[in-house]
Structures are given as structure tokens and as C-alpha cells.
């Protein structure tokens, strides 16, 4: 087990900048997630930690050791790939023991470790099978097993669940978490799936265009996104964004859209002082829009707007209602029993305690 530290890491491919000024301290035993859209540099970062890519500039430490010039096999890491990358001609036992055999671990010990790990992963019965005789989920368990038997300082996961079907992915997500709680090995996990990032990470690193956008616990990233990009990327369905102007009236501040305005809570007006009269971006998460019929708490009468219902997606546990407001589509996450029909005009309430305002130019979060 070890800390991992990345200092001013840069990676360019020719003229393309893949990772820029990446700084991150990963604690011993931490489960950290690199998340972002494809091409954001998350996989390149992971491969740099593995030693599969040479960084253009910067330093990578595993434990106290600078590993920039250490080949992958000596970095004491193990990696799980998206496509499993099992050795096709070896059976499960040989796949799992490959690294140990190369490291000249005594046979009886290898046998003990492999069998124990296989049992831990529920693949003890499959040791004689070849990869092609396994299902996707079983293959991924073997790939996990191959990483675990090595007992490395750091686990690197490159979208390990992306090739699995949706149901299996959810099961494996929980199993991976359980495994991490038991093994307590530092883990760095790359995914493009913000849901995986939210559910699995001790901390998540949101990346875009080679740059770290924000590093924090999933809840903090969700509640306090640092900019419009993170706000839009984390959360499903995405946050709704509306152009607005900050205006003053009766001693209060309002976020004024074309046909309605929302009163901004008193405790947040301070940070908006410089924005009075200026344009900004209003951000509202789908669960912070409600209807008069279903709202259960007190609400500000100056947080209500009229809009027409466009489409409704009933999910059983909730209804996603797409509403048309000011030529934009907003998504509201509503009670499944709400009585709305497509085309209907209705009054919606914004829980203004939870809204966000972003600077229009820099897209940074004001609150």
C-alpha cells in the first residue's frame, strides 16, 4: 500500500496536449476516481502512473519513490483493463499466477494465493477454464484476480466495468467496493460514467480537456461544483442551465430570466454584489424543481414559474418531466404520482436554496 503523488505532470502527443499541469496527492488506501468525457486525459494519466506512457514533464511518486524512469513491472502496481486483456491461451489459474510465476514465487505459495483469491472472487470452480469459455463478468473477475494476487501497492482500473451489461455492472460495482474495503489497497479508477464516479470514489477527480477541473468527495463535487462544466457533468439528468440577469428589487436580489424572476436567498446575495445588472448563468438541478401539488415544504412565492410540459419519462420511482421554458428544455425530477400531461401548462417551483449562479464569462461558480 502506498500514496501516489503526481506533480506538474504533463503529457503531449506531438502537438496534442493530453494532460496539462496535473497535480494530485492520493492518500494511502484511498479509492480515487478519474472521471471525464473521452479524450479528457484520464486514461493517459492512468497509463502514465502505470508506466505504459512516459510523461512529457513532471514527476510521479509511488510511495516515496520517484517512478518516472521505473518500468511498469517494477512499479508495484497492477492494472485491470476495460477489455480484460486476459492471456487467451492460458487457463484461469495460469492467467492469475502469471505475474507470480515471473517473480519466482515458490509454487506452493502461488497455489495458496491463487486459490484463496479465486475463492474470494467466486471463480474457484473456473480455474481450469480458458478465457473464451468464460462470460464477460467471469472474465472481469479473472482480470481482477490477476491484479489482486500480486498484492500490489496500487490498483489501476481502466474502465473495468464498461464492457459489462448494465445489471452486472451494478453488481460488480458493489463487489469492487467491498473488495476495496477488505484489501484497503490504494486504487485509481478511470471511468467516463459519472454514476460510477459518484458511487465508488472516496474522492473524484473531474477532468476535461487535459485539465483537472475539481477534486473532492463525490457529495461535495455534486453540491458545490467548481464551475459550470463540473456542474453539468456530474449528476444525471444534468443540471439545467438558463441565461439570466442579476437584478435588484425591494432590497433583494433576483435572477431574472425573460418571463420570470427567482428571488435569491439572503445568505447568498453577498457574493453577487459585483454582478448586479450583469448577465450570469443560472443552474438548477432537476430535483430542485417541484410542482405546487407535490412540494412538501415551505417555498418562496417568488420562485414560481409557468411552463408547458413537453415529454414525461416515468421511471417508476420518479418521473422525469421535460418542460419548455423560454425556448429551452428544463428537466424536472418529480414525484412519480404527479399529475401532468404533455402539452399542459403548469406552475413549477424552484427550490432556490439549492440554485447555482455561474459567471457568464469564466463559467466559474459564484455559488
Amino acid at each position: 500500500m502506498a500514496e501516489v503523488r503526481l506533480k506538474d505532470v504533463n503529457k503531449t502527443f506531438g502537438k496534442v496536449v493530453a494532460v496539462k499541469d496535473f497535480n494530485l496527492d492520493i492518500g494511502d488506501g484511498e479509492f480515487i476516481i478519474l472521471v471525464g468525457p473521452s479524450g479528457c486525459g484520464k486514461t493517459t494519466t492512468l497509463r502514465s502512473i502505470a508506466g505504459l506512457e512516459e510523461v512529457t514533464a513532471g514527476e510521479i511518486y509511488i510511495g516515496d519513490r520517484l517512478v518516472n524512469d521505473v518500468p511498469p513491472k517494477n512499479r508495484d502496481i497492477a492494472m485491470v483493463f476495460q477489455n480484460y486483456a486476459l492471456y487467451p491461451h492460458m487457463n484461469v489459474y495460469k492467467n492469475m499466477s502469471f505475474g507470480l510465476r515471473l517473480r519466482k514465487v515458490p509454487r506452493p505459495e502461488i497455489d495458496k494465493i491463487v486459490r484463496r483469491t479465486a475463492d474470494l472472487l467466486g471463480i474457484g470452480e473456473l480455474l481450469d477454464r480458458k478465457p473464451k469459455e468464460l462470460s464477460g463478468g467471469q472474465r472481469q473477475r479473472v482480470a481482477l484476480g490477476r491484479a489482486i494476487v500480486r498484492d500490489p501497492h496500487v490498483f489501476l482500473f481502466d474502465e473495468p466495468l464498461s464492457n459489462l451489461d448494465a445489471k452486472l455492472r451494478i453488481t460488480m460495482r458493489a463487489e469492487l467496493l467491498d473488495l476495496h474495503q477488505r484489501l484497503k489497497t490504494t486504487a485509481i479508477y478511470v471511468t467516463h460514467d459519472q454514476l460510477e464516479a459518484m458511487t465508488m470514489g472516496d474522492r473524484i477527480v473531474v477532468m476535461n480537456e487535459g485539465l483537472i477541473q475539481q477534486v473532492d468527495t463525490p457529495q461535495k463535487v455534486y453540491d458545490h461544483p467548481i464551475n459550470r462544466y463540473v456542474a453539468g457533468f456530474i449528476g444525471s439528468p444534468s443540471m439545467n442551465f438558463l441565461p439570466c440577469t442579476i437584478v435588484k428589487g425591494n432590497g433583494d436580489l433576483y435572477a431574472a430570466c425573460k418571463s420570470y424572476k427567482l428571488r435569491i436567498p439572503q445568505d447568498k446575495t453577498k457574493s453577487l454584489r459585483d454582478y448586479i445588472g450583469k448577465e450570469a448563468i443560472l443552474g438548477i438541478r432537476p430535483e430542485h424543481i417541484d410542482t405546487k401539488d407535490t412540494i412538501t415544504r415551505k417555498y418562496d412565492p417568488e420562485s414560481v414559474f409557468q411552463a408547458s410540459v413537453w415529454v414525461i419519462e416515468p421511471l417508476g420511482s420518479e418521473k422525469l418531466v421535460h418542460i419548455k421554458s423560454e425556448e429551452r428544455i428544463l428537466v424536472a425530477r418529480l414525484d412519480p404520482h404527479v399529475d401532468l400531461k404533455p402539452g399542459q401548462m403548469a406552475e413549477f417551483i424552484v427550490k432556490t436554496d439549492f440554485i447555482h449562479i455561474f459567471d457568464k464569462e469564466t463559467e466559474k461558480t459564484i455559488f
Partner: protein, 275 residues
Amino acid sequence: MNTSPRANKITLYIVMVVFALFFLLPLYVLFATALKSFSEVSASRMWNLPTIISGEGFAKALEKLLPNLLNSFYLVIPATAFSAILGSLNGYIFSKWKFKGSDIIFPIILFGMFIPYQSILPPLVRFLMSIKLYNSIPGLILTHTVYGLPITTLIFRTYYTEVPTEVVEAASIDGAGILGTYWRVLFPISLPGFVVVIIWQFTNIWNEFLFAIVITSSPAKQPITVALVNLAGSQIVEWNAQMAGALLAALPPVLIYILLGRYFLRGLLAGSVKG
């Protein structure tokens, strides 16, 4: 005009049978003549079947050609093996360990395929003489190994490109070096690639004539393709022995193809059909 699909099909088959017969005619003459006795061979009766099946031609051909037949095996087995192994290593490096300049070196290697044999004969002979391999089977082995590298490299590179690079990366994280990865991970799954290369190289080297006649000047060292030509004496040609010799010379590539052929298509198609 109205033609039914059935009539179309019949026409098609007739055309195909005619072409097949046309192509098989020389083969018929080859077999028929090889099985005749010397006294029965004549141009006027070349289309006739032998009146009695005679082993005379084969006996004569074997007697004269056996050393050269063996020479061909001494040549073709090592040359095929070396060019296959080296091509496999090349293909592995060019597909999985791209280095600075590999995108330039690979096309240069491929370019070797397009250099006509004739154009390099004088320097080749001089080179073999100076390393004392001229007029020897090892000299031919070296020549064919080198000349085979472009195609074997290309075939293996294409084959290994289909192997996910992550498998190689997994091995390097697991602790295998460049050669260790090749030996433990790539080589064991290379059989289809090797089959394609072996059939290709075996057939080509076995049938090759120009290098053989230029590099091996003494009859005792010549492979069968050259000896077959020399079998036709200057005065009279023993056609039955000549034809039997041709059959003998053609046999090994056919056997290789029959033995390995079922892997051949599989190898050529590897990757085009995921499975």
C-alpha cells in the same frame, strides 16, 4: 430472349467444366507420360494412356534426383523456419513496440518485396563469395531467409495487430520483458500466423529457380528445381523420367498445403471475422 435460371446454371457449369478440362490437360499428360516405359514414350502417342503402368520413369527420376530432393529439404526447412521466426519477431516489434523511426523502417523492409531477384544477383554472388557461402546450401538458406523477411514481417505484423495491445501491456505490468512477453504470450497464440507463413515460404522457396541456379553451381549442391532441368540430357530426353521427376518435385508443397491448409484460410481470415 428468355433464359430460365436453370438454363443459366447449366451453361455456367458447361463453361466451368470446359475450363477445368483445359487446365487439367497438362496434368493428364504429366501423369500419363510418367507412368509409361521409355520405349512407349513418343510425341505421336503423347495423348494415349500407357498400355502398361511402368515404374521405370519414377525409378530413374528417383535415382538421379534423390540427392537434389534431399538438398531441397535441407534448404527449405531451415530457410522457412528462420524467415518465419525472424518475421514473427519483426512483426511483434513493429506492431506492439513502436519505436522512433519504426514507421520509416517498416516500409523500407516491405520495399524489399518489390526488388526483382535479377537486379541483385551480381552483388549477392560477390557477397556470398566473400563470406564463403557461395555454391552452398547455407548460402541459399541465408538468401531465402533475408528475401523472405518482408513478406513474413508483413504477415505477422498484420496478425499481431489483431491481438489487443492491452494483453501485451498486462504482461509487461505482470513482469515480462519484451522477449518474455513474446515467448510467453504472443508466440503461443501465433499458430495461425505461422501456418500462413510456413505454407507461403515453403512453397516459394521450394519452387524457386533463379537464386538456386545462380548460387549453387555444382550439381551435387543443387536443389531439385535446378536438377530437374539438368535431367533433360543434351542428346535425348527421357520424357517419362522427366515427368516423374516433375511430379516428385511438385509433391512436397502439395503435401504441406494438404497438411496445413485447413489452418491456412483460418490464418488469412484471422481478425476479419471476430470469434
